[in-house]
């Protein structure tokens, strides 16, 4: 199934793209992380990397077709 992966802030500096569509076999975050970390090894070593699924912080949600998964560093708004 196809899902959209979004990158922000320092993570985007590494990927050099705002988003991409990837194909996964399962709805498993471990599979997604494996694909992304293989593609961009530097992301794996980001301190406190955060992940969101459809605008919510990742909390073991099951991943579905067309979901938007965001990878980004700790936030610093305000």
């Amino acid at each position: 199934m196809k899902i959209k992966i979004l990158y922000f802030a320092h993570v985007r500096d590494i990927t050099k793209k705002e988003y991409e569509i990837i194909d996964i076999n399962s709805g498993n975050m471990d599979e997604i992380k494996k694909i992304i970390f293989n593609k961009y090894p530097e992301i794996k070593y980001e301190n406190n990397l955060l992940i969101a699924v459809n605008d919510e912080y990742y909390n073991n949600q099951k991943i579905k077709e067309n979901d938007a998964i965001a990878f980004f560093p700790p936030v610093s708004g305000g």
């Binding site: 802030a9 320092h10 500096d13 605008d55 965001a70 980004f72 936030v75 610093s76 305000g78």
Partner: protein
């Protein structure tokens, strides 16, 4: 009202958006860009803000809803600015109205404290020769 925008924050519009006949107090918070940060000796020329807009709007909305449950407030507006923000300019504006001032003061502090750590918004310090992402956590 919640906005994430590249334009300069119109403080009067921010304040007037929470003004109403029931409120006896409006408390505002403005976050402004300063030249020095405690974590570095380097002189900051500007800040660059970036946001995951949809999620940030959703998370700010959630923070305001939480504040409404805790404090007896009437209205809240938050404007987060993104893009390049020069020294002395506002990066965020918050306005809270309430019947009496204490609730608005407390709610305003609660909202900015949460905005610092929950919505996906990032800032980059711009120096004369380079730029570095900053993290609050």
């Amino acid at each position: 009202m919640i906005k994430i925008q590249g334009d300069v924050i119109d403080i009067n519009a921010l304040i007037n958006s929470v003004r109403n006949a029931e409120s006896g107090a409006i408390v505002t918070f403005l976050g402004t860009v300063r030249m020095h940060d405690e974590s570095s000796d380097r002189e900051i020329k500007a800040l660059k803000y970036d946001a995951y807009n949809d999620m940030a709007m959703h998370k700010i909305d959630g923070i305001i809803e939480e504040a409404r449950k805790i404090y007896n407030i009437i209205d809240v507006s938050v404007i987060q600015r993104t893009g390049l923000i020069k020294l002395g300019e506002d990066s965020i504006g918050i306005a809270v109205s309430s019947v009496h001032r204490k609730e608005a003061f407390k709610a305003c502090e609660y909202i900015i404290d949460k905005i610092k750590i929950i919505p996906p918004i990032w800032k980059k310090e711009v120096y004369s020769d380079s730029e570095v992402w900053k993290s609050e956590t």
